[in-house]
């Protein structure tokens, strides 16, 4: 019974990772860049929702929408100002270092504005706890909402990419930017759209993360962000179902190692998973192998 409740905790954490990883994998798959700032966009989403509910007193669900709008705009602005100028840069290092810079910028701006003291985040989920087997297994409302919203997001994203024109444009851009441009696709717009969707998802992830673990500080997003990247690599970066599976597995691994091995070493174990995956199967569980061309 104890094992099952740990497993449920793991699934809860894992589906938060999965939502974050979906954003990562979209941006990586299409723009071919590692958006280090994704974790910090999550934090901004959390703060937007926090201030919408506490300072403006809006309905929690409306606050999620506000957070999504804020993050979407932020994502587009970041892409426009920081990443777009470097899209055709000779070195891939340049855009990676810029992404780290953006991540630090968001973190430290939040630190100057909101201070380092963690804030108490009120859960946006208002569903009672589900009791099974005479209350021996408890499934919180947050867990159910997180898992369900994760599945909905995954299905919607898959449909969007395969059934709509913009989605097809994204696939084309990810295959070959130059050829996509010749086919009349607006590459800049498509990548901007990818960032907008990814950041919108980050807002949802931020609210879900803060609802499950109800503290909010400028550093809230950075660790889950990096772990979600591990999840995305684990599942096969660029693959949407891969991000989901990778996220769930990573959440379960983290909670089980916290419970049975050592709570201090759980982070080390999670990162150990990443290294093992990259050594054994660098393309991840559902990834495709790409041959490097000259």
């Amino acid at each position: 019974m104890k094992f099952i409740s740990f497993l449920i905790d793991g699934i809860n954490l894992g589906s938060v990772y999965a939502v974050i990883a979906l954003g990562y994998t979209m941006v990586y798959g299409i723009a071919k860049m590692l958006n280090f700032a994704h974790g910090d966009v999550i934090m901004v989403g959390g703060f937007a929702s926090f201030f919408a509910t506490s300072a403006m007193g809006v309905n929690p669900l409306v606050s999620v929408l506000i957070a999504m709008v804020v993050c979407t705009i932020l994502g587009i602005v970041i892409e426009e100002l920081a990443y777009r100028p470097l899209r055709n840069a000779a070195s891939s290092l340049a855009v990676l270092i810029t992404a780290i810079g953006v991540s630090y910028f968001l973190q430290n701006t939040a630190l100057l504005i909101f201070g380092s003291a963690p804030k108490q985040f009120n859960s946006v989920v208002n569903i009672p706890m589900l009791m099974l087997f005479d209350g021996r297994i408890k499934i919180s409302g947050e867990t159910m909402v997180t898992v369900i919203s994760c599945i909905i997001i995954m299905v919607c994203l898959t449909l969007f990419i395969h059934k709509t024109k913009s989605g097809q444009a994204m696939l084309a851009v990810s295959e070959d930017k130059g050829a996509a441009k010749l086919m009349g696709i607006n590459v800049n717009f498509t990548i901007g759209l990818t960032f907008a969707i990814g950041s919108g998802l980050a807002a949802i992830a931020g609210v879900l993360l803060c609802s499950t673990y109800p503290t909010l500080s400028p550093y809230t997003g950075s660790m889950p962000g990096i772990k979600a990247f591990v999840a995305a690599v684990f599942g096969g970066i660029g693959s949407i179902p891969g991000a989901f599976i990778g996220g769930l597995l990573l959440g379960i691994i983290e909670i089980l190692s916290k419970a049975y091995i050592s709570s201090q070493l759980s982070d080390a174990i999670v990162f150990g998973v990443l290294i093992l995956v990259l050594m054994i199967k660098p393309t991840g569980i559902l990834g495709k192998k790409l041959q490097e061309k000259v």
């Binding site: 590692l34 470097l86 055709n88 840069a89 891939s92 290092l93 630090y104 201090q264």
Partner: protein
Amino acid sequence: MKKLTLNKQTKSNLITYGIIVIAYFVIQIMIATHTMSYHMQGMLVTVCSYIILAVSLNLTVGILGELSLGHAGFMCVGAFVGASFSICMKGIITFTPLRFFLALLIGALAAGIVGILIGTPVLRLKGDYLAIVTLAFGEIIKNVINVIYMGIDKNGLHFSTKDTVSLGMEEDGIAVIKGAQGVTGMPQDSNFTIGIILILLTLYIVLHLIQSRDGRAIMSIRDNQIAAESVGIHVSKYKLLAFSISAALAGMAGVFYIHSFDNMSSSVFDYNLSISILVFVVLGGIGSIRGSIIAATVLTILPELLREILYSISKDSNVSQVITNSRMLIYSIILIVMMIFNWSPEVKEWTGKFFGKFKKNKSGKKEVA
């Protein structure tokens, strides 16, 4: 007349060494004439270790062309191994310079070996993946050292992951590493002169490597791995060479750094520290060794100088807090602006038009040293 026969590279090297030596004498004069505050004197060891770290990271980022985000992890390995050695040998080797020299050597070796162990599987990866894996390794090293307890008594070394009691030591035993508390009771062997010697040693190793046949092989991998492979360069060997030397130098810097404190926990060597070092490299110019030295010095001294000046004007203790908080913000802006300014094709074209007439040599060659 002899000087005229020096080639360009040797001249450039001599200038780099010269800057360090002149800086050393200027600072010694400042200390002797009391024109430098005690606070600033305390910063000298830190500045020296940051310079070594920046130069060694530049070897990975600028010369090998791979981004390592776990440099603080190698520093951490070196620091803890070196510090443990110093504490264990405190009573045995009483001649301090010898003990410190051995500590530096062992710390550098340990970090170098960890660098080889990590590098062997990881250097197959490239770009983003390598960056994230080095980040992961940095975190793993920090977390693992955070739970280790180590003690020494007459029976030898004892290890545990629980607490000091479970080490099961004899009465005369000393706990050397105490988990989250880190190491305590280190002899404070570091000083500015040793720092300058270590900087010169680092520069000698790095410049010598870069300007050798091996160095050119490493740079050819940076510029085009497939082309380098096709002319018979053993890619993984050279990658590992650069990576492990960079790790060993970071380990040496760690030993040097930790020996200026009485106690230190492994949580100091975190991701933020790795990023700070990266900022030094980026601001100084990726691939430019002299740039790294200058950037590390300026970015470490400037906030402290600003703090001192602002404090003496306003006498407000909040000033210190504001500077601490805004330091990383300024770092992040440096990262973004430097990258866009140096690498964006559009911005380059624009600056080329603007400054073009002032510059004669615009062949776009990458600077080496």
